[in-house]
């Protein structure tokens, strides 16, 4: 995916698509030198001869390159090209490894360091992109939608960096081939596996161990990767009763099989699970226990077929499920929450390399959902609530990348969406225009319309309890429009600067009503429906190659929501509105065996609502004391700032290559404020006010190995 293929000394070239295919059409007959370059692999060049009226079919294999050589100029060039698309960030996996982390490298936490992407707090790996909430991001793993990409209550992401080949994040203005979400796309492709030899690599940290094995198959390759934490094993050594037992694991696997000239089958799967078990004991007698399990299961089968030298097709059958199950028993009183979303999808994507000027894509995407949510309290108690819904989503898209001249690029597309619950039908046009002013300066404009038919009730402190809902006939789908203007400049010394301004109005956005819903409700009874607006400007200065790499990102943004029944109908800042956000990441290689990394984050404090009074109100005979809120999210806690460090030393021991990595999170031990707690339990006394703080300094050690 994204390898550069070009004929030396000519202007002819192409980038491979997601499946590694490319087409260079209308090349005059003759002999040429073909160059192939891709990050992480050794470059290749070969002499090819184009005969009059003939197509030349080539199968080119690239050899992996040692990881320490990956971040070189060629990769920098490729990623700069990718990032010339609107709001796109292409992140080499090697770069993730040079960033400070808690315990181990984490994809979503690394992405939170990019401008325009917010973390609501350091305990969450959720991505709040340009004013959108995490459910407004389409997260794809090998073309399969992942609904809850987190472990450990949202602290870690489900993606194991060792298994990842490519990461593409589009923060806005995404083309018509993507849809069903309002804000952004995170498209992750897992490694295909080494077609030449068996390899393995792994890591042991204070939190988890992981192992990846890949190698050739008779007509293809495979990759399998697993990870497990062992907090439960450490806690079991303690003599203390009433300690919870917790672990998570995940497993990625992928098989590539060539089944003929131009045909390939790809099977890809992911299985991840978190388990929490807590026995409450009093005087060595169990008085209650809680079992919580949650996780994702995703699987896809892809058939890649060439209908001809210029028409490429990918057919996908995929299934994805997120489920959380809470089973609590206290003195014989049971409570069970069973919550899941299932997605069965069929996709057909066709790519037509029509001419050097036109590259078209069109396709269809059909999804059958199953939303299920059940609560049972006690046996035969009467407390039972079930919600089950099976809507269908259908989308058709067409888009064309038109290059009328070397300096102009126009990407126009249209996506038609239909959703059975309603029913609802929407058309989403998309347009992106790029003008290269000089060899180093480019301008970009993008606009598009976006529709989302699902929403989620987020639990801030327990991501496993997120509840997905499809829209129904009582509310319209969420809509947004993206207006983006950007400038990118290639600077000397391998620096590049990207500046983007965006304006993103949203309609029919929802906010959960704080209510008990003992029966099946319509969505209008569960959510407030209103409007949203997000606007901002982002500066992204990067240095991609050399001993010193990194970036400085700054964004100014404002995100508001407006609901008739909230804040007296006036707009208020979203909980994830952080006006100023500055991030500096540096990675430095003083010597071939050493690598140093640092990340500094500064941003405006989180918004919160200040109490303005108290009052008493209730049903007849049942007085309830309430706090009168001031302007919703009208105040801010103190600004957030943190410095993390990373030190890595490579070694070789008994033929095994490895590295020892020391991560220090929050080096100067600044306990940032998570939220302000008001304790009003004694209404006749002033409330106790406490600033609940986040993590202190946290050093962690990890050892990686490969053989």
């Amino acid at each position: 995916m994204g390898a550069n293929v070009f004929l030396a000394g000519t202007g002819w070239g192409a980038a491979t698509n997601k499946s590694g295919y490319f087409a260079i059409s209308h090349v005059p007959p003759g002999k040429y030198t073909l160059h192939v370059r891709f990050v992480g692999y050794r470059s290749r060049k070969m002499v090819v001869e184009i005969l009059p009226g003939k197509f030349l079919s080539l199968r080119i294999a690239l050899r992996p390159q040692p990881i320490e050589l990956q971040d070189v100029e060629v990769s920098a060039r490729y990623y700069r090209e990718e990032e010339k698309n609107a709001s796109t960030v292409a992140m080499p996996v090697a770069r993730l490894r040079g960033l400070p982390a808690i315990g181990e490298t984490d994809l979503l936490r690394a992405l939170q360091l990019l401008p325009g992407i917010q973390a609501v707090n350091e305990l969450s790996s959720g991505l709040y992109i340009r004013g959108g909430s995490p459910d407004q991001n389409l997260i794809l793993l090998d073309d399969i939608t992942v609904y809850n990409p987190s472990h450990f209550f949202g602290f870690f992401s489900t993606f194991n960096p060792d298994a990842i080949k490519d990461i593409r994040l589009i923060r806005g203005g995404f083309p018509a081939e993507y849809g069903g979400r309002l804000s952004a796309v995170l498209d992750i492709t897992n490694r295909d596996g080494n077609r030449e030899r068996f390899e393995s690599r792994g890591a042991v940290s204070l939190i988890s161990s992981k192992l990846l094995i890949e190698g050739p198959l008779p007509r293809g390759s495979f990759m399998i990767s697993g990870r497990r934490t062992y907090l439960d094993l450490l806690l079991s050594l303690s003599r203390e009763d009433n300690l919870p037992q917790y672990y998570f694991y995940d497993l990625n696997a992928k098989v590539n099989l060539d089944i003929g000239q131009g045909d390939r089958l790809i099977f890809s799967g992911y299985l991840g699970r978190d388990n929490l078990h807590f026995d409450r004991k009093e005087q060595n007698v169990t008085t209650g226990d809680i079992n919580i399990g949650w996780g994702n299961r995703v699987f896809s089968a892809q058939w890649i077929h060439l209908f001809g030298p210029r028409l490429f097709a990918r057919f996908v059958l995929a299934a994805s499920r997120f489920q959380s199950l809470i089973d609590a028993d206290a003195s014989g009183f049971t409570v069970i929450f069973d919550n899941s979303i299932q997605d069965y999808s069929a996709k057909a994507n066709l790519e037509w390399f029509a001419s050097p000027q036109h590259y078209a894509k069109f396709g269809v995407w059909l999804t059958r959902y199953r939303f299920f949510n059940a609560i049972r309290i006690g046996e035969n108690t009467g407390f039972e609530n079930r919600i089950a819904s099976r809507p269908i989503y259908l989308a058709l898209f067409v888009q064309d990348e038109w290059r009328p001249s070397p300096r102009w690029k126009v990407l126009a597309g249209l996506r038609a969406n239909a959703f059975s619950d309603g029913p609802h039908i929407q058309l989403d046009p998309r347009l992106q225009i790029r003008r290269q002013l000089t060899n180093r300066i480019g301008l970009l404009f993008s606009l598009g319309s976006y529709t989302q038919y699902t929403t989620v009730v987020v639990n801030d402190v327990a991501s496993f309890a997120d509840l997905w809902y499809p829209i129904d006939d009582t509310i319209d789908p969420q809509r947004s429009q993206h207006y983006i203007a950007g400038l990118d400049v290639e600077l000397p010394w391998s620096f590049s600067l990207n500046v983007e301004a965006y304006y993103k109005p949203m309609q029919n956005v929802v906010e959960f009503r704080e209510s008990h819903n003992p029966n099946r409700d319509k969505l209008k009874d569960i959510f407030y429906v209103g409007r949203g607006l997000s606007r901002g400007i982002e500066f992204f200065l990067q240095k991609r190659s050399g001993r010193l790499t990194g970036w400085i990102g700054y964004s100014w943004s404002r995100t508001t929501r407006t609901f008739v029944h909230l804040n007296a109908g006036k707009p208020f800042p979203a909980k994830w509105d952080f006006t100023h956000d500055l991030t500096i990441t540096l990675s430095y290689r003083p010597a071939s065996k050493w690598q140093l990394g640092a990340t500094f984050v500064y941003k405006s404090g989180p918004t919160f609502t200040v109490p303005a009074g108290k009052y008493r109100l209730g049903p007849p005979g049942f007085p309830i004391d309430y706090i009168r809120a001031g302007p919703k999210n009208g105040a801010r806690l103190e600004p957030y700032h943190r410095l993390d460090l990373f030190i890595s030393r490579k070694f070789q021991l008994l033929g095994i290559r490895g590295s020892a990595n020391l991560n220090i999170f929050n080096v100067y031990n600044h306990r940032n404020v998570w939220y302000r707690d008001y304790d009003f339990r004694e209404l006749n006394e002033p409330p106790k006010v406490t600033d609940v703080r986040l993590l202190p300094i946290l050093p962690t050690l990890e050892v990686t190995f490969a053989f």
Partner: protein, 274 residues
């Protein structure tokens, strides 16, 4: 080696210096703290549920109090208000204050009728508060299959006929014992209402519920089912306050907090919980 050729050996000092300066600026900007309370503004609070077939027994009009002062019902009650309730048939009543209970008003002889629209108008020194409600239609509560039930074992079904115009149904269960025995429930320490003799529950769009276990005590209870209007339903639905998010119940009165609702209470049933 290609790697050696491609890297650029620029001194990083300039970048590091710039980064450190930015960190310093950010650090200095970080020295501020928000106020603990917002400025207090007195606001009226209306609490009134009109019940069909009954007079206006207890209309509460209070005010919000400052966060950091004790809650005093006498101080909170608003006196001297002119409160008028009128119906779409042209009849109306002016509520009178209940002596010795500041903020409580009544009009016990003004009987509420089903399917009528009632308007509220309150005149205060600085504002006029208005609202209106449509009283739902009558309905019948079926007899319970069991009236002596064992806690968490029996599950009688509560049934009633539909009420036209009802937005939802409100069920309240009240213990009638003078010194009732407490039910040991799990997580009761997390329940701010674990000591109350009354509990409530609501159901939307259904005329049947399996008996809700909402008791804090054993003994005799009274069960009431109300067909309620949209205003009271919206209050109930948002009645739980998430203090961290500072959510509040939806108001159905203009220029004030609270609700002005109406309901039909058709029948009561006595239950012994063992």
């Amino acid at each position: 080696m290609r790697f050696e050729k491609s890297v650029t050996h620029r001194p990083p000092a300039g970048i590091v210096l710039a980064a450190m300066l930015l960190m310093l600026v950010a650090w200095l900007l970080g020295c501020s703290s928000p106020s603990v309370y917002d400025q207090y503004r007195e606001e009226p609070v209306v609490e009134c549920l009109l019940v069909a077939g009954e007079g206006v027994e207890e209309f509460k009009l209070s005010r919000t109090l400052p966060v950091d002062s004790p809650y005093d019902s006498a101080l909170a009650g608003i006196t001297g208000a002119r409160i008028v309730i009128s119906s779409d048939r042209g009849d109306s009543t002016v509520l009178r204050p209940v002596p010795g209970r500041p903020g409580i008003y009544e009009s016990p002889r003004y009987i509420i009728n089903v399917r009528r629209r009632y308007r509220l108008r309150i005149i205060l020194k600085d504002r006029i508060i208005t609202s209106e409600t449509v009283c739902p239609d009558t309905f019948s509560l079926m007899p319970l299959s069991k009236t002596v039930i064992t806690y968490l074992k029996d599950q009688p079904v509560v049934r009633w006929t539909p009420s036209r115009g009802a937005a939802a149904y409100y069920i309240s269960i009240t213990n009638l014992e003078r010194s009732p025995q407490k039910i040991e429930r799990p997580f009761a320490d997390q329940d701010p209402y674990a000591d109350r003799k009354s509990r409530f529950y609501w159901t939307l769009g259904l005329e049947t519920v399996i008996y809700p276990w909402l008791h804090n005590y054993y003994g005799y209870h009274i069960l009431r089912v109300y067909a309620i209007d949209e205003n009271f339903f919206r209050y109930l639905q948002t009645s739980f306050q998430n203090v961290r998010e500072m959510t509040e119940p939806e108001s159905s009165v203009t220029n004030a907090l609270g609700y002005f609702g109406s309901a039909v209470l058709r029948k009561t049933t006595y239950i012994l919980v063992e």
